[in-house]
Protein backbone atom coordinates (compact mmCIF):
# COMPACT_ATOMS: atom_id res chain seq x y z
CA UNK A 1 0.00 0.00 0.00
CA UNK A 2 1.18 3.49 -0.74
CA UNK A 3 2.00 5.61 2.25
CA UNK A 4 -0.68 8.18 3.04
CA UNK A 5 0.19 11.68 1.88
CA UNK A 6 1.82 13.80 4.58
CA UNK A 7 -0.81 15.70 6.47
CA UNK A 8 -0.95 19.34 5.54
CA UNK A 9 -0.99 21.65 8.51
CA UNK A 10 -3.30 24.63 8.31
CA UNK A 11 -2.32 28.20 9.09
CA UNK A 12 -4.46 30.90 10.63
CA UNK A 13 -4.74 34.34 8.98
CA UNK A 14 -2.23 35.58 11.60
CA UNK A 15 0.51 33.04 10.85
CA UNK A 16 2.87 35.55 9.23
CA UNK A 17 2.46 37.92 12.16
CA UNK A 18 3.37 35.16 14.61
CA UNK A 19 6.52 34.33 12.68
CA UNK A 20 7.46 38.01 12.43
CA UNK A 21 6.95 38.34 16.19
CA UNK A 22 9.47 35.55 16.79
CA UNK A 23 6.94 32.96 17.92
CA UNK A 24 7.88 29.34 18.26
CA UNK A 25 5.45 27.50 15.96
CA UNK A 26 4.29 23.96 16.68
CA UNK A 27 1.79 21.58 15.11
CA UNK A 28 -1.40 21.50 17.18
CA UNK A 29 -4.60 19.66 16.22
CA UNK A 30 -3.77 19.97 12.54
CA UNK A 31 -2.70 23.62 12.71
CA UNK A 32 0.60 25.44 12.85
CA UNK A 33 0.13 27.46 16.01
CA UNK A 34 2.30 29.82 18.08
CA UNK A 35 3.18 28.10 21.34
CA UNK A 36 5.13 31.02 22.78
CA UNK A 37 6.52 34.44 21.91
CA UNK A 38 8.51 36.23 24.64
CA UNK A 39 8.35 33.29 27.05
CA UNK A 40 5.60 31.35 28.78
CA UNK A 41 5.89 32.96 32.18
CA UNK A 42 6.27 36.47 30.83
CA UNK A 43 3.16 36.03 28.65
CA UNK A 44 1.27 34.41 31.53
CA UNK A 45 2.02 37.29 33.88
CA UNK A 46 1.18 39.85 31.21
CA UNK A 47 -2.33 38.34 31.02
CA UNK A 48 -2.73 38.27 34.82
CA UNK A 49 -1.38 41.80 35.34
CA UNK A 50 -2.31 43.70 32.14
CA UNK A 51 -3.77 41.91 29.14
CA UNK A 52 -2.79 39.55 26.38
CA UNK A 53 -4.05 38.52 22.98
CA UNK A 54 -4.29 34.93 21.76
CA UNK A 55 -4.88 33.66 18.24
CA UNK A 56 -7.38 30.85 18.75
CA UNK A 57 -8.46 30.66 15.13
CA UNK A 58 -7.82 26.93 15.17
CA UNK A 59 -11.03 26.51 17.18
CA UNK A 60 -14.05 25.45 15.16
CA UNK A 61 -17.56 26.85 14.88
CA UNK A 62 -20.83 25.11 14.11
CA UNK A 63 -23.92 27.09 13.27
CA UNK A 64 -27.32 25.63 14.05
CA UNK A 65 -30.29 27.47 12.62
CA UNK A 66 -33.95 27.01 11.87
CA UNK A 67 -37.28 26.77 13.68
CA UNK A 68 -36.09 23.77 15.72
CA UNK A 69 -32.47 24.86 16.21
CA UNK A 70 -33.02 25.27 19.96
CA UNK A 71 -34.78 21.90 20.19
CA UNK A 72 -31.93 20.16 18.37
CA UNK A 73 -29.28 21.73 20.60
CA UNK A 74 -31.38 20.89 23.66
CA UNK A 75 -31.10 17.25 22.57
CA UNK A 76 -27.34 17.48 21.92
CA UNK A 77 -25.99 19.74 24.65
CA UNK A 78 -26.07 19.08 28.38
CA UNK A 79 -27.15 22.55 29.49
CA UNK A 80 -30.64 24.06 29.26
CA UNK A 81 -30.32 25.60 25.80
CA UNK A 82 -33.97 26.68 25.69
CA UNK A 83 -33.33 28.89 28.72
CA UNK A 84 -30.63 30.86 26.89
CA UNK A 85 -31.77 34.32 25.81
CA UNK A 86 -30.83 35.89 22.49
CA UNK A 87 -27.36 37.33 23.08
CA UNK A 88 -26.66 34.74 25.76
CA UNK A 89 -23.68 32.41 26.12
CA UNK A 90 -23.72 28.98 27.68
CA UNK A 91 -21.13 26.31 28.50
CA UNK A 92 -22.08 22.67 28.08
CA UNK A 93 -20.73 19.25 27.31
CA UNK A 94 -21.61 17.06 24.34
CA UNK A 95 -22.21 13.53 25.57
CA UNK A 96 -22.46 10.08 24.07
CA UNK A 97 -25.40 7.87 25.02
CA UNK A 98 -23.31 6.41 27.86
CA UNK A 99 -22.56 9.90 29.20
CA UNK A 100 -18.94 9.97 27.95
CA UNK A 101 -17.86 13.48 27.00
CA UNK A 102 -17.31 14.07 23.27
CA UNK A 103 -16.40 17.73 23.72
CA UNK A 104 -16.92 20.76 25.92
CA UNK A 105 -18.40 23.75 24.17
CA UNK A 106 -19.52 27.34 24.42
CA UNK A 107 -22.72 28.15 22.54
CA UNK A 108 -24.02 31.61 21.74
CA UNK A 109 -27.61 32.43 20.84
CA UNK A 110 -27.18 34.92 18.01
CA UNK A 111 -30.88 35.09 17.12
CA UNK A 112 -33.96 33.27 18.34
CA UNK A 113 -33.43 30.56 15.72
CA UNK A 114 -29.69 30.83 15.18
CA UNK A 115 -26.87 29.55 17.42
CA UNK A 116 -23.11 29.44 17.12
CA UNK A 117 -21.19 26.70 18.97
CA UNK A 118 -17.41 26.84 19.38
CA UNK A 119 -15.66 23.48 19.21
CA UNK A 120 -12.20 22.30 20.17
CA UNK A 121 -10.03 22.11 17.05
CA UNK A 122 -9.23 18.43 17.46
CA UNK A 123 -12.93 17.59 17.90
CA UNK A 124 -14.47 19.84 15.29
CA UNK A 125 -15.05 17.25 12.55
CA UNK A 126 -16.28 14.70 15.09
CA UNK A 127 -18.67 17.22 16.65
CA UNK A 128 -19.95 18.40 13.28
CA UNK A 129 -20.66 14.80 12.27
CA UNK A 130 -22.41 14.13 15.58
CA UNK A 131 -24.58 17.26 15.21
CA UNK A 132 -25.55 16.29 11.66
CA UNK A 133 -26.21 12.64 12.51
CA UNK A 134 -28.68 13.65 15.19
CA UNK A 135 -30.36 16.44 13.21
CA UNK A 136 -32.72 14.05 11.41
CA UNK A 137 -36.30 14.82 12.31
CA UNK A 138 -35.51 18.36 13.43
CA UNK A 139 -36.42 21.35 11.30
CA UNK A 140 -32.92 22.74 11.72
CA UNK A 141 -29.80 23.15 9.65
CA UNK A 142 -26.29 22.38 10.86
CA UNK A 143 -23.54 24.31 9.06
CA UNK A 144 -19.76 24.12 9.35
CA UNK A 145 -19.00 27.76 10.13
CA UNK A 146 -15.30 27.26 10.89
CA UNK A 147 -14.14 28.64 7.52
CA UNK A 148 -16.11 31.84 8.18
CA UNK A 149 -14.31 32.83 11.36
CA UNK A 150 -10.99 33.77 12.81
CA UNK A 151 -11.00 33.97 16.60
CA UNK A 152 -8.99 36.13 18.98
CA UNK A 153 -9.08 36.02 22.76
CA UNK A 154 -8.25 39.29 24.53
CA UNK A 155 -7.85 38.51 28.21
CA UNK A 156 -6.69 40.22 31.37
CA UNK A 157 -7.67 43.05 33.70
CA UNK A 158 -7.00 45.65 30.96
CA UNK A 159 -8.65 43.71 28.12
CA UNK A 160 -12.14 45.20 28.14
CA UNK A 161 -10.91 48.76 28.37
CA UNK A 162 -8.61 48.27 25.38
CA UNK A 163 -11.30 46.63 23.25
CA UNK A 164 -13.93 49.13 24.36
CA UNK A 165 -11.68 51.95 23.17
CA UNK A 166 -12.04 50.75 19.56
CA UNK A 167 -15.71 49.67 19.79
CA UNK A 168 -18.72 51.55 18.46
CA UNK A 169 -20.98 50.56 21.37
CA UNK A 170 -20.63 49.20 24.91
CA UNK A 171 -19.20 45.67 24.98
CA UNK A 172 -21.51 42.81 26.01
CA UNK A 173 -21.22 41.83 29.70
CA UNK A 174 -19.69 38.57 30.85
CA UNK A 175 -21.42 35.44 29.43
CA UNK A 176 -23.25 37.40 26.75
CA UNK A 177 -22.53 38.18 23.13
CA UNK A 178 -23.25 41.01 20.70
CA UNK A 179 -22.30 42.22 17.23
CA UNK A 180 -20.11 45.28 17.40
CA UNK A 181 -17.84 47.22 15.11
CA UNK A 182 -14.25 47.34 16.31
CA UNK A 183 -12.15 49.83 14.42
CA UNK A 184 -14.98 49.81 11.89
CA UNK A 185 -14.80 46.02 11.38
CA UNK A 186 -17.82 43.81 12.17
CA UNK A 187 -17.05 41.46 15.06
CA UNK A 188 -19.05 39.06 17.20
CA UNK A 189 -17.86 40.03 20.69
CA UNK A 190 -18.28 37.36 23.37
CA UNK A 191 -17.80 37.95 27.08
CA UNK A 192 -16.03 34.65 27.56
CA UNK A 193 -12.52 33.30 27.95
CA UNK A 194 -10.25 30.54 29.16
CA UNK A 195 -7.84 32.29 31.49
CA UNK A 196 -9.78 33.09 34.65
CA UNK A 197 -9.43 36.79 33.84
CA UNK A 198 -12.03 39.21 32.55
CA UNK A 199 -11.91 39.76 28.82
CA UNK A 200 -13.57 39.01 25.53
CA UNK A 201 -13.34 36.60 22.65
CA UNK A 202 -13.67 38.07 19.17
CA UNK A 203 -15.11 36.12 16.26
CA UNK A 204 -14.37 37.85 12.98
CA UNK A 205 -14.11 37.45 9.28
CA UNK A 206 -10.64 35.96 8.64
CA UNK A 207 -9.65 39.09 6.68
CA UNK A 208 -10.38 41.29 9.70
CA UNK A 209 -8.21 39.32 12.12
CA UNK A 210 -4.91 40.91 11.07
CA UNK A 211 -5.97 44.56 11.42
CA UNK A 212 -7.65 43.79 14.77
CA UNK A 213 -4.57 41.96 16.05
CA UNK A 214 -2.31 44.83 15.01
CA UNK A 215 -4.56 47.44 16.61
CA UNK A 216 -4.80 45.63 19.94
CA UNK A 217 -1.07 44.88 20.05
CA UNK A 218 -0.47 48.57 19.37
CA UNK A 219 -2.71 49.30 22.35
CA UNK A 220 -0.62 47.13 24.63
CA UNK A 221 -1.92 43.57 24.26
CA UNK A 222 0.91 41.08 24.83
CA UNK A 223 0.88 38.31 22.22
CA UNK A 224 0.40 35.08 24.18
CA UNK A 225 0.79 31.54 22.90
CA UNK A 226 -0.83 28.19 23.50
CA UNK A 227 1.62 27.34 26.29
CA UNK A 228 0.57 30.36 28.39
CA UNK A 229 -3.05 29.63 27.52
CA UNK A 230 -2.55 26.20 29.09
CA UNK A 231 -0.87 27.42 32.29
CA UNK A 232 -3.52 30.16 32.67
CA UNK A 233 -6.44 27.78 32.25
CA UNK A 234 -4.93 25.27 34.66
CA UNK A 235 -4.47 27.91 37.39
CA UNK A 236 -8.15 28.73 36.80
CA UNK A 237 -9.08 24.99 36.89
CA UNK A 238 -10.69 25.00 33.45
CA UNK A 239 -10.79 21.63 31.73
CA UNK A 240 -8.64 20.80 28.73
CA UNK A 241 -10.34 18.35 26.42
CA UNK A 242 -8.10 15.35 25.76
CA UNK A 243 -6.54 15.67 29.23
CA UNK A 244 -9.20 16.39 31.83
CA UNK A 245 -12.14 15.38 29.65
CA UNK A 246 -12.22 12.28 27.45
CA UNK A 247 -14.92 10.14 25.89
CA UNK A 248 -14.39 7.44 28.52
CA UNK A 249 -15.26 9.77 31.39
CA UNK A 250 -18.48 11.58 32.20
CA UNK A 251 -19.27 15.15 33.26
CA UNK A 252 -20.19 14.34 36.88
CA UNK A 253 -16.76 12.80 37.45
CA UNK A 254 -15.24 15.91 35.87
CA UNK A 255 -17.06 18.25 38.25
CA UNK A 256 -19.26 19.56 35.43
CA UNK A 257 -22.59 18.53 36.90
CA UNK A 258 -23.46 22.24 37.11
CA UNK A 259 -23.80 22.41 33.30
CA UNK A 260 -25.84 19.20 33.02
CA UNK A 261 -29.62 19.53 33.15
CA UNK A 262 -30.77 15.94 32.87
CA UNK A 263 -34.46 16.92 32.81
CA UNK A 264 -33.96 18.32 29.31
CA UNK A 265 -33.46 14.77 28.03
CA UNK A 266 -30.16 15.42 26.25
CA UNK A 267 -28.32 12.47 24.72
CA UNK A 268 -26.57 10.78 27.63
CA UNK A 269 -28.82 12.33 30.27
CA UNK A 270 -29.94 8.96 31.64
CA UNK A 271 -26.34 7.88 32.18
CA UNK A 272 -25.42 11.24 33.71
CA UNK A 273 -28.41 11.06 36.04
CA UNK A 274 -27.43 7.56 37.15
CA UNK A 275 -23.91 8.70 38.06
CA UNK A 276 -25.20 11.78 39.83
CA UNK A 277 -27.61 9.66 41.86
CA UNK A 278 -25.20 6.86 42.74
CA UNK A 279 -22.19 9.14 43.16
CA UNK A 280 -19.18 9.05 40.85
CA UNK A 281 -16.48 6.42 41.27
CA UNK A 282 -13.79 9.08 40.76
CA UNK A 283 -13.64 12.86 40.93
CA UNK A 284 -11.49 15.43 39.20
CA UNK A 285 -9.67 17.49 41.82
CA UNK A 286 -7.18 20.35 41.68
CA UNK A 287 -4.04 19.94 43.74
CA UNK A 288 -0.80 21.72 44.44
CA UNK A 289 2.56 20.37 45.47
CA UNK A 290 3.84 21.39 48.89
CA UNK A 291 7.51 21.08 47.86
CA UNK A 292 9.58 20.95 44.69
CA UNK A 293 8.65 19.09 41.53
CA UNK A 294 6.25 19.46 38.64
CA UNK A 295 3.40 17.00 38.17
CA UNK A 296 2.75 15.78 34.65
CA UNK A 297 -0.10 14.04 32.83
CA UNK A 298 -0.04 10.31 33.62
CA UNK A 299 1.68 10.56 37.02
CA UNK A 300 0.08 8.31 39.65
CA UNK A 301 -1.68 9.96 42.61
CA UNK A 302 -1.34 8.26 46.00
CA UNK A 303 -3.09 8.74 49.33
CA UNK A 304 -1.99 6.83 52.41
CA UNK A 305 0.53 4.97 50.26
CA UNK A 306 -2.15 3.56 47.93
CA UNK A 307 -2.67 4.60 44.34
CA UNK A 308 -5.96 6.53 44.20
CA UNK A 309 -5.80 8.14 40.79
CA UNK A 310 -3.92 9.77 37.98
CA UNK A 311 -2.82 13.26 36.97
CA UNK A 312 -4.55 14.54 33.82
CA UNK A 313 -2.96 18.02 33.71
CA UNK A 314 0.13 19.32 35.46
CA UNK A 315 2.51 22.24 35.22
CA UNK A 316 4.47 24.78 37.22
CA UNK A 317 2.17 27.63 38.21
CA UNK A 318 3.79 30.87 37.08
CA UNK A 319 1.84 32.83 39.72
CA UNK A 320 2.14 30.44 42.68
CA UNK A 321 5.59 29.14 41.65
CA UNK A 322 4.72 25.61 42.75
CA UNK A 323 3.70 22.51 40.82
CA UNK A 324 -0.07 22.38 40.28
CA UNK A 325 -2.38 20.01 38.50
CA UNK A 326 -5.68 18.28 38.21
CA UNK A 327 -6.34 14.58 38.36
CA UNK A 328 -9.03 11.98 38.88
CA UNK A 329 -9.00 10.40 42.33
CA UNK A 330 -11.21 8.10 44.38
CA UNK A 331 -13.98 10.05 46.16
CA UNK A 332 -12.35 9.22 49.51
CA UNK A 333 -9.31 11.31 48.48
CA UNK A 334 -11.22 14.18 46.87
CA UNK A 335 -11.90 16.53 49.79
CA UNK A 336 -9.90 19.79 49.84
CA UNK A 337 -7.05 19.44 52.29
CA UNK A 338 -6.54 15.73 51.63
CA UNK A 339 -2.83 14.91 51.67
CA UNK A 340 -1.64 13.23 48.49
CA UNK A 341 1.60 12.14 46.92
CA UNK A 342 2.27 12.50 43.22
CA UNK A 343 4.59 9.88 41.74
CA UNK A 344 6.73 12.11 39.52
CA UNK A 345 8.82 9.59 37.60
CA UNK A 346 9.56 7.47 40.64
CA UNK A 347 9.88 10.26 43.18
CA UNK A 348 6.90 10.82 45.48
CA UNK A 349 6.15 14.51 45.79
CA UNK A 350 3.84 15.62 48.63
CA UNK A 351 0.72 17.43 47.45
CA UNK A 352 -2.62 18.57 48.82
CA UNK A 353 -6.10 18.68 47.31
CA UNK A 354 -6.93 22.35 46.76
CA UNK A 355 -10.05 24.43 46.27
CA UNK A 356 -10.97 25.73 42.83
CA UNK A 357 -9.52 27.87 41.42
CA UNK A 358 -5.87 27.14 42.15
CA UNK A 359 -5.02 30.81 41.59
CA UNK A 360 -7.19 33.78 42.46
CA UNK A 361 -6.17 37.41 42.20
CA UNK A 362 -5.28 38.69 45.68
CA UNK A 363 -8.15 40.83 46.99
Amino acid sequence: MAAPPPQTLRRTPLYDRHVAAGARIVPFAGWEMPIQYAGIREEHRAVRERFGIFDVSHMGQVETSGPQAAALLQRLLSNDVQAMKVGGAQYSVLCREDGGVLDDLFSYRLQDERFLTVTNAANHDKDLGWFRRHADGFDAEVTDAAPDYAMLAVQGPGAREAVQAIADQPLPPRFTTARRHLRGLPVLVCGTGYTGEDGVELLTDPDAAGPLWDELVRRGAAPAGLAARDTLRLEACFHLYGNDLIEERGPIEAGLGWCCKEDTGFIGSDAVRAVRTAGPREKLVPFRLVGPGIPRQGNAILAGGETVGEVTSGTLSPMLEVGIGMGYVAPSAAAPGTELEIDVRGRRRPAVVAEKPLYRRPA
Binding site: R24, I35, Q36, G39, I40, R41, A227, D230, T231, P292, G293, I294, R296, T315, L316, P318, R345, R347
Partner: protein, 128 residues
Protein backbone atom coordinates in the same frame (compact mmCIF):
# COMPACT_ATOMS: atom_id res chain seq x y z
CA UNK B 1 21.57 34.32 25.84
CA UNK B 2 19.69 34.98 22.64
CA UNK B 3 22.42 34.04 20.16
CA UNK B 4 23.50 30.45 19.60
CA UNK B 5 26.95 29.95 21.15
CA UNK B 6 29.20 26.89 21.28
CA UNK B 7 32.57 27.48 22.98
CA UNK B 8 35.57 25.98 21.23
CA UNK B 9 37.19 24.71 24.42
CA UNK B 10 34.38 22.23 25.22
CA UNK B 11 33.68 18.70 24.06
CA UNK B 12 30.15 17.85 22.99
CA UNK B 13 27.86 14.84 23.20
CA UNK B 14 25.35 14.48 20.35
CA UNK B 15 22.49 14.55 22.89
CA UNK B 16 23.32 18.27 23.35
CA UNK B 17 25.50 18.06 26.41
CA UNK B 18 28.95 19.54 26.96
CA UNK B 19 31.98 18.56 29.04
CA UNK B 20 34.83 20.78 30.19
CA UNK B 21 37.69 18.43 31.09
CA UNK B 22 40.19 19.57 33.72
CA UNK B 23 42.67 16.81 34.53
CA UNK B 24 40.80 13.81 35.91
CA UNK B 25 37.54 15.69 36.50
CA UNK B 26 35.06 17.30 34.15
CA UNK B 27 32.17 19.74 34.42
CA UNK B 28 28.94 18.89 32.58
CA UNK B 29 26.05 20.98 31.29
CA UNK B 30 23.64 21.27 28.38
CA UNK B 31 24.27 23.21 25.18
CA UNK B 32 22.70 26.37 23.87
CA UNK B 33 20.67 24.22 21.47
CA UNK B 34 19.31 22.09 24.34
CA UNK B 35 18.24 25.04 26.49
CA UNK B 36 16.65 26.75 23.49
CA UNK B 37 14.69 23.63 22.61
CA UNK B 38 13.56 23.22 26.22
CA UNK B 39 12.39 26.79 26.64
CA UNK B 40 12.35 28.39 30.07
CA UNK B 41 13.90 25.96 32.52
CA UNK B 42 12.03 26.01 35.80
CA UNK B 43 13.36 23.00 37.68
CA UNK B 44 16.60 21.09 37.89
CA UNK B 45 16.58 17.78 39.71
CA UNK B 46 20.24 17.04 40.51
CA UNK B 47 21.76 13.64 41.20
CA UNK B 48 23.39 12.80 44.52
CA UNK B 49 27.04 13.55 45.12
CA UNK B 50 28.83 10.19 45.15
CA UNK B 51 26.54 8.55 42.61
CA UNK B 52 28.03 7.26 39.40
CA UNK B 53 27.15 8.29 35.89
CA UNK B 54 27.71 6.46 32.61
CA UNK B 55 28.47 7.96 29.25
CA UNK B 56 25.29 8.26 27.19
CA UNK B 57 23.00 7.57 30.17
CA UNK B 58 20.72 10.09 31.91
CA UNK B 59 21.98 11.48 35.22
CA UNK B 60 19.58 14.36 35.94
CA UNK B 61 16.28 15.87 34.86
CA UNK B 62 15.63 19.35 33.68
CA UNK B 63 12.13 20.73 33.33
CA UNK B 64 10.64 23.58 31.42
CA UNK B 65 7.08 24.74 32.01
CA UNK B 66 5.88 22.38 29.30
CA UNK B 67 8.08 19.32 29.49
CA UNK B 68 10.71 17.29 31.29
CA UNK B 69 13.92 16.04 29.69
CA UNK B 70 16.70 13.75 30.77
CA UNK B 71 20.19 15.16 30.87
CA UNK B 72 22.71 12.75 29.33
CA UNK B 73 26.20 12.23 30.72
CA UNK B 74 28.88 12.92 28.10
CA UNK B 75 31.43 10.88 30.09
CA UNK B 76 31.44 8.24 32.86
CA UNK B 77 32.53 8.75 36.44
CA UNK B 78 31.50 9.67 39.98
CA UNK B 79 29.74 12.89 40.83
CA UNK B 80 31.86 14.99 43.18
CA UNK B 81 29.84 18.22 43.14
CA UNK B 82 26.42 19.41 41.98
CA UNK B 83 25.44 22.98 41.21
CA UNK B 84 23.12 23.58 44.13
CA UNK B 85 22.51 27.18 42.99
CA UNK B 86 20.30 25.77 40.22
CA UNK B 87 17.66 24.85 42.80
CA UNK B 88 16.91 28.56 43.23
CA UNK B 89 17.99 29.84 39.81
CA UNK B 90 17.25 27.14 37.21
CA UNK B 91 16.96 29.94 34.65
CA UNK B 92 20.77 30.12 34.72
CA UNK B 93 20.62 27.08 32.41
CA UNK B 94 18.98 29.35 29.80
CA UNK B 95 20.91 32.50 30.55
CA UNK B 96 24.40 31.09 30.90
CA UNK B 97 24.44 27.42 29.85
CA UNK B 98 28.25 27.17 29.84
CA UNK B 99 28.85 29.19 33.02
CA UNK B 100 26.41 29.60 35.90
CA UNK B 101 24.23 26.91 34.29
CA UNK B 102 26.78 24.12 34.83
CA UNK B 103 25.18 21.04 36.38
CA UNK B 104 27.69 18.61 37.92
CA UNK B 105 31.40 17.97 38.36
CA UNK B 106 32.50 14.37 37.81
CA UNK B 107 35.68 12.41 38.61
CA UNK B 108 36.22 10.58 35.35
CA UNK B 109 36.49 6.79 35.42
CA UNK B 110 37.46 6.29 31.79
CA UNK B 111 39.30 9.28 30.35
CA UNK B 112 39.58 7.46 27.01
CA UNK B 113 35.85 8.05 26.46
CA UNK B 114 36.63 11.61 25.48
CA UNK B 115 37.63 10.35 22.05
CA UNK B 116 33.97 9.60 21.38
CA UNK B 117 32.88 13.19 21.98
CA UNK B 118 32.58 15.85 19.31
CA UNK B 119 34.60 18.98 18.84
CA UNK B 120 32.78 22.29 18.63
CA UNK B 121 33.21 22.15 14.86
CA UNK B 122 31.78 18.63 14.55
CA UNK B 123 28.88 19.34 16.94
CA UNK B 124 27.79 22.54 15.22
CA UNK B 125 28.11 20.83 11.83
CA UNK B 126 25.74 18.13 13.10
CA UNK B 127 23.24 20.81 14.21
CA UNK B 128 22.97 22.44 10.81
Amino acid sequence: MAEATYPEDLLYHPEHDWARIDGDTATFGVTWFAQDALGEVVFFDPPEVGSSVSQGEPYAEVESVKAVSDVIAPLSGEIVEVNTDLADTPEAINQDPYGAGWMVRVRLSDPGERDELLSQEAYTAALS
